[in-house]
Structures are given as C-alpha cells and as structure tokens.
Symmetry: C2
Subunit: 172 residues, 2 copies
Amino acid sequence: MDHLHDDVDDIQDAWLRERPDTPVGSIGVITRIWRIAKLLDDDRRRTMARLGMDTATRDLLATLRRAGAPYALPVQEIARRCAVTSGAISQRVRRAEGQDLVTRRKSDDDGRGVVVGLTPRGHDLIERTVDDLLHHEETLLSALGTEQREELSKLLRLLHTDLQRRVPPAGG
Amino acid sequence: MDHLHDDVDDIQDAWLRERPDTPVGSIGVITRIWRIAKLLDDDRRRTMARLGMDTATRDLLATLRRAGAPYALPVQEIARRCAVTSGAISQRVRRAEGQDLVTRRKSDDDGRGVVVGLTPRGHDLIERTVDDLLHHEETLLSALGTEQREELSKLLRLLHTDLQRRVPPAGG
DNA sequence: CGTATATCGTTTAGTGCTAAAGGAGTTTTC
DNA sequence: GAAAACTCCTTTAGCACTAAACGATATACG
C-alpha cells in the first residue's frame, strides 16, 4: 500500500473540490511529468554550471558525439534529434563556435545546407562530461527498483510515441 | 507486444555503441520525461495562444482559483505552489496586473508581504479556460488505458516525491 | 527553360526563466 | 532596546527558447 502523497495530489483534489465537474484525470500524469522535468532541468543546469558548461551546449555536443565518426551533422538533422527549432540550433552553434567547440562548413551536396562538426576541443569536453552526468543521473533514480524503472520506461515510451504523432513538432 | 521503438531508444543505443562503459540506464526514464514534457509544453503554449492567453498567466490564475475563496495568496506561497522562483512570480504578477487580471495589496500581518488576488476579470478568464484545457489534455493521454494511467501516476508520484527531497527547489 | 514553390539556415522580436543583488521590514539575541 | 541576522519581494543581467520573416538555393512543372 502506498500512503504516498505529493503536491500534485493536492492540485487534483483542489480542482475536484472547486469544480466537481471538471475532468481531472490527466493531472496525475501530465502535471507530474512537468514537475519532474523541471526538477531534473534545474538539477542538470546546476551540474553543468559546476563543470563550466550549459545544458544547451551539452545537448549539441552530445548529439554530435553520439552520431559517431566523423562527428558531424547538418543543422536540420541536429534540430530533429534535439527536438528544438532550427533557429535554436543556429544560436547554439554560434555560441559553441565562439568557444572553438564546433565548426561550420557548407554542405557539398546542397548549397543551402550547413554541416556542423565537433572540434577536438569539443570532443574532449563532451567526453569529460558525459560520464559524470550519466553517473549522477543514475543516482537520481535510485528511488526506483530495476523492475519499476523498466515498467516506467515502457509506459513512457508508449505515451511518447503516441504524443509524437499527436503533437506537431516545434516548427523548423 | 511491445515492439515499440522511439527516438530515445536510439539515443540509448548510440551511447552504448559509442561508449560501452557508460551507464545508460537513466536515459530511458529521464530523457523520455524531458521529451514528453516538451511536447506537452509546446502543445499547451499553442492551445493558450489560441485562447489569447499564455502558459505563465494561466498557471498564476489557476493557482489562485484553485486556492478557493477569497482567491488570494501571498507571493511566497504562489512561488512554492508553482515551483518557480519568487522573481518569476513578481514578473508574472506585473504582467497580469497590467491586464487587470489580478491585484496586489500589502499584507496586514507582515509589512514585507504582498498578497495577490484574482479580479472578477481574472476569475472569469480562468473559469472559461480551465475546462477546455483539461478536456483537451485528457485526449492527449488516450493512448493509455485506465490501468496503465494509474500505474504511471503511481510510479511518477514515487519518483517525484523522492526528487523533491533530493533536488533543492529553485531558490527564492 | 523559366517561373512558382519549397526547403535550408539565419536573424529578430517577444516571452519567460534563474541567479544574484538590493531595499524594506521583522525577528532574534544579548 | 539596539545591532545582527533573517525573510520578503522586486529588479536586473544573462540565457535560451519559439514564431515569424528573410535571403539564398533547389526542385517541380507547364
């Protein structure tokens, strides 16, 4: 039996009290996902600040590193993989370029296209950061046992897949 | 039959391929929560824009409305309930005050304190908005059956409760 | 072919957050 | 009961995003 109770239960109860006919069923999932995402975001921002980085740059470098050699992708593809607009990537790249972490070059195939690649400095930096972060985030989930984590992943995957169909991505 | 596969599986597989010794176990939960939160955020922003509102103002008005009569709370308490800094609330209140949706008055008990209350206009606006939004968000979860939704809520509540202990709230 | 349409990346305006600093009022302590 | 410490709210600087507008190239079509 879980006698666990959180702020989100309060929110749901409050709407039920104030407006008994309003459907409150989505709150338990949606508001909790929001709140957890915010806590994780705040935590990651601080962790990155401690390492002299920021979350946006980390996301950019990690995406390029993960792509495998030669650690380069077109802007459009980075935007898709990071789930932000191409304008956001443009800004991220400009910032990272100024710190010599990435380079831009025109695409060979397409005169409009720009390919962004990791510099050695950028490669180094992400290499030194990614393990730290993933170890740390492992501990953030220690409230959940292996089985609970798998069950949670499975349900979130189902919801994520469906929402991607339902909600148009942030335009490009 | 979970032959389901999403972008997050790709991210996890890519790290495993590129750095076999890095612990990737947290990705399936944390990255998915992030992505889902972003999709929900984008969707809510658009829904609110369509209704001539914005998500920050909605959050403020909803918090006051939910508190019940007389629909007024001190800034500090709003910040806690909305899980943002008091500086953010200060800005939200200033914007909403300009549209005659809320009022500020000095607290009787504490010369430092400020109490923010809904105006009739603010009450009206949130009343007209909240049902629409909750009905809409109900449909966003329709990929999940009743039982899955309850299981998901339960696991998220467990994680949320634990993270609130672990991660310091955004100061303020 | 040449014009219309679409796509790619960038830029800009607008929004909204955190963190940190500051002014004002309150509580604690000796 | 005065000084120190704390709390409350606001303000500011800095970051980062979306949406929309804009040039530049690429593709499609009659």
